[in-house]
Amino acid sequence: MSVTDLLLEGVNLMFLGMGMVFVFLTILVIAMNGMSRLARAITGPEVHETPSKPVAAPKATGEEGELVAVISAAISRFRSNKK
């Protein structure tokens, strides 16, 4: 094949390729919008998560009070020991 023929093939490939990439990703955009609507329809609007990685939220304020007691006990014992 001559270089010109090859280049023609290349141009052909370029249009086909970029066309395909755009068509594919456009359909994917549409599909994702549909999918998100579907997901919202199934789960309802309230169940949501932030897009960042789920960080374990601090729980139980009651346990915290207990924790304070435990820590201050530990510290006061430690101090009395140190003397």
């Binding site: 270089v3 090859l6 280049l7 093939e9 290349g10 141009v11 490939l13 370029m14 086909l16 390729g17 970029m18 395909m20 990439v21 755009f22 068509v23 594919f24 990703l25 456009t26 359909i27 994917l28 955009v29 599909a31 994702m32 919008n33 999918m35 998100s36 579907l38 997901a39 919202r40 199934i42 789960t43 169940v47 949501h48 998560e49 932030t50 897009p51 960042s52 990685k53």
Partner: protein
């Protein structure tokens, strides 16, 4: 005794070394130096560099048909198994939330693939230079460097141009490592200060169900329209499903750790084993390295230009910088976007917004690879 002495001498490296081998071991050493001292994609470039050294040792035949690297190449690369397993691991490590929250960033991932097809033309045009000769398959395999995605490049090169695999893989990973140097000047040249300062609205939260449905959506489209990309996209999405469903943690961990780590070592060594003097020290390699750089620049530029278009169409809500992340090179390109954005406005963090086009770029290059496989490799 003399004969034993002679046999020993004949078996020595200094008695058998060829210049090409010495040069290729030097190339391997440079790759290791870049990996270790400059932290250029060390997970891949260190094994590749070491593979280059091992495979060019005279007499030992480590990359030969009976040598360790010869076996590994035969089992893992010739079959295409290793890059696919890496893709499974990448899928299990990737969070597509940012893309799901903002699907239109897929267009940025699409635009950046223009680097691939422009390079394809460039490679074919280089046939006019005497001494350079690239077939359509060669040109396609080289062009995929512009996809800025290592496993995709290795997979496509192993199918279309195994002889060029070593140079293509080295170029792909090297330019991915050079993203922080290559991209910023292009990004600054193509955008105004005002555009770079655009603060984007916070991404909407994404539900667990959406994260589970997403990989299936991509896979279904791939099945319908581009089955030649199905091995790549299928394994990427399989890994992502393992991660997102939350009921197979054992398997998800295996894909994210054991499998990808083990395969990375052997993939690197095996790719390095293709850095032999007769395949690498050719004029074609120079062409590959040059074309790869051009591909990266064009991909970055078209990504940013599409970002500018979206900036206008959205009434100024989109910061065009995030288009540069569309080349893939996850997560380096997104970090570069963040950095260039911070230069313009010290309180503007674009990282999460850039992750959308960044992972879109991975899908985009897999689609481009699928097209090339379907038409050129068919």
């Amino acid at each position: 005794m003399g004969s034993g002495f002679d046999a020993l001498w004949q078996s020595m490296g200094i008695a058998n070394m060829e210049w090409g081998q010495l040069l290729m071991m030097l190339v391997g050493g440079i790759l290791i130096f870049l990996a270790v001292a400059k932290k250029f994609e060390p997970l891949l470039l260190l094994p590749i560099g070491f593979g280059a050294i091992l495979s060019n040792i005279p007499v030992a035949g480590i990359a030969g048909p009976e040598g360790l690297l010869g076996y590994v190449y035969h089992v893992g690369i010739e079959t295409g198994v290793f890059p696919l397993l890496i893709f499974m691991g990448v899928g299990a490590l990737t969070d597509f939330s940012a893309l799901i929250a903002m699907p239109k960033t897929l267009f940025l991932g699409a635009a950046a693939q223009f680097g691939i097809f422009a390079t394809l033309l460039g490679a074919l045009a280089l046939n006019m230079v005497p001494g350079m000769e690239y077939t359509l398959a060669d040109a396609s395999a080289i062009a995929i460097i512009g996809g800025a995605d290592g496993p995709t490049a290795i997979f496509l090169a192993s199918r279309l141009a195994p002889d060029l695999l070593g140079a293509i893989a080295v170029a792909a990973y090297s330019y991915m490592a050079l993203v922080p140097i290559i991209q910023p000047p292009i990004m600054r040249a193509l955008t105004t200060e005002a555009e770079r300062k655009v603060v984007m609205s916070q991404l909407r939260p994404v539900s667990k169900l959406e994260k589970i449905l997403f990989p299936f959506s991509v896979l279904i489209l791939c099945i319908l329209f581009l089955p030649s990309a199905a091995p790549l996209i299928g394994m990427l999405m399989f890994g992502n499903i393992l991660k997102e469903v939350g009921v197979v943690d054992r398997l998800s961990r295996a894909a994210q750790n054991e499998i990808i780590n083990i395969v990375t070592i052997f993939l690197g060594l095996a790719v390095g084993s293709k850095l032999s003097a007769d395949k690498f020290l050719t004029v074609e390699t120079l062409g590959i390295l040059g074309l790869g750089a051009v591909a990266f620049c064009i991909g970055t530029a078209t990504g940013v230009l599409m970002g500018k278009a979206m900036h206008r169409l959205s009434g100024g809500k989109v910061n065009p910088l995030i288009g540069a992340a569309g080349v893939s090179a996850v997560p380096m390109a997104a970090r570069v976007v963040n950095k260039v954005g911070l230069e313009a406005d010290h309180h503007n963090f674009l990282l999460m917004h850039a992750m959308g086009p960044n992972v879109a770029g991975v899908i985009g290059s897999a689609v481009a690879a699928g097209v090339l496989l379907a038409i050129v490799g068919g």
